[in-house]
């Protein structure tokens, strides 16, 4: 078996007296959806922030695509192909949908110190952007200002931006947050279709989505990994049931 694309070893992050992440080991391989679940405050977002470089770990290392990225800043990691979407929708409200995605395309260029030429007329940005919008089902909304999109559409736009980064790995922070049942189902189908092409690290509260998509599940509680394995194993794990899945999983099984 080849080494995982993303490998975190012993990631530890403290905020004062609180240990938000305690010696977390995690790997994501090609072709996989690896879901991270856990109750609120378990340290999922802290973990994502360390993986994409917004937080520096107190201890531990992160390897991505064969190199040590532990000390690299966020922007450099993004250029290496580590694409993150955000839990709280953070598209650029004053830009149109297609311009949001075009900016993500632009982020993969060598530099953007180009001061003169109008970027909006540039097919090198607009064409890949339109393709990403089409992929997530927003092609007909491309010239709508992002601020005017419905909530679910903003979540789709977030994903389009991540896709436009030509990612080697997607870090998705609750892509279904605040979505209706139908929208969630559409997103699950979309993500299922993506995973052959780009592996996904998925942080998500929607258990139906997690169990529908994940090949591996890691469960966090109070900053520690309490279980990690394929979904069937996680379902059976007594500690996980008690700590987190509770009645839902039991009912689902029954």
């Amino acid at each position: 078996m080849t080494a995982p694309l993303l490998q975190a070893v012993g990631l530890t992050k403290r905020f004062g007296g609180l240990v938000a992440n305690d010696a977390i080991d995690l790997g994501v391989s090609e072709g996989q959806v690896h879901a991270v679940i856990g109750p609120n405050g378990a340290g999922k977002t802290t973990l994502l922030a360390q993986l994409n470089g917004e937080l520096k770990p107190d201890r531990g290392t992160i390897h991505f695509d064969g190199r040590d990225i532990t000390a690299l800043p966020t922007a450099t990691r993004a250029r290496l192909g580590l694409a993150r979407s955000f839990q709280i929708t953070s598209v650029f409200a004053s830009f149109s949908a297609v311009d949001n995605v075009a900016l993500a395309v632009q982020g993969q260029e060598r530099h953007s110190f180009r001061f003169w030429r109008d970027a909006s007329g540039d097919p090198a940005l607009a064409e890949p952007a339109e393709r990403a919008l089409e992929r997530v089902g927003l092609a007909d909304r491309s010239h709508v200002p992002a601020s005017a999109l419905a909530h679910g559409q903003k979540r789709q736009l977030e994903l389009a931006m991540a896709l436009a980064m030509r990612p080697k790995l997607l870090l998705l922070d609750e892509p279904m947050a605040g979505m209706g049942v139908e929208e969630s189902a559409a997103m699950v189908t979309l993500l299922a279709g993506l995973k052959a092409e780009v592996p996904i690290l998925l942080v998500e509260h929607d258990m139906d989505a997690v169990f529908a998509l994940a090949d591996q599940i890691t469960v966090l509680l109070h900053g520690r990994v309490i279980a990690s394995g394929p979904p069937a194993e996680i379902r059976r794990n007594a500690e996980v049931r008690e700590a987190y899945l509770g009645e839902d999983a039991a009912a689902g099984d029954g």
């Binding site: 800043p73 922007a75 993004a78 982020g107 953007s112 001061f115 109008d118 970027a119």
Partner: protein, 354 residues
Amino acid sequence: MAGARRRKIALACLLGFLVLLPPVALAAGEPFYVSLFTRILITALAAASLNLILGFGGMVSFGHAAFVGIGGYVVGIAFVHASDGTLFLGLLPGTVSGFVVLPLAMIVAGLVALPIGAICLRTTGISFIMITLAFAQMLYYLMISLRRYNGQDGIAVWQRSELPWPIDLDDRMSFYYVALAVLLAFLYGTHRMVNSRFGRVLRAAKDNERRVRALGFHAYRYKLAAFVIAGAAAGLSGALLVNSTGFVGPSYLEWHRSGDLIVMVVLGGVGTLFGPVLGAGALMLLEEFIPELLNGLADGLGEHWKIFLGPILILIVLYARRGLMGLVDGSLGGSLLRRLRPEPPPGKPPRRRR
């Protein structure tokens, strides 16, 4: 869009006014207005350069006048050495050649802006405001301490920068059109810049810098580049201002000059292309004429003219984020009317019976 159309018509009128002003004023025997508007155009350049970082990049610099002052001192110091034949730092001869001092003012101001920006841009928000102010104050006191250049008293620059025929800064009309051309060139450059790839990164970083980094941009570098460009343009404004007033001193770098520039940008419309021009014009015309008007009402009232400016600013901040530009394209009137119209909020529950 009606707003865009109104804006175009208004800007065409503004341009026409600015182009025709000198011959009309001279024909009417009021050369003073040509000089006044020359100063307004030069100050508008400084305000527009601040708007590049404040309006489009979200960087509220409270030390922008320092770069205006640096540009001014380049002209002043070059003049001192040219007039007494000494060498600057024992190395460089002085000059009054516009081809040398005007670009040099930009380069020096940009070079000063580079390390200052590099440090200040490590912070955001209030810290950024305070640290830019602190650097500006340091430069202010540095200028006061320069005894060779008359410290507090500054330098009387009685020879204007020389430019090739037909440009002659000693001629009011010629100087006015130079200032107008430089301002319009900068505004056009800004227009190109904010719509370029660079500008998109800058504007996006104003919205959400964290997101910009996650897309792969080293946001800091782009903000720093904008800070240096704005500093250089402010330096050019300072160099022209010295030519216009015949004086440069530490007062150029005073903190309330930086404050005035912020006021001009806010008054005119943050993040709009022509807003700073309107803001500079409005503030400087008020400054020129309100005191006189007030003194006509009551003796000594003119000194306190800023009392009247304060409420105007508060109204603009409260009701019109786009300032005077909002007035031009009609969005100010709309929002003001909406706020003033007494309208019961929808869905208000009926009053309870006693």
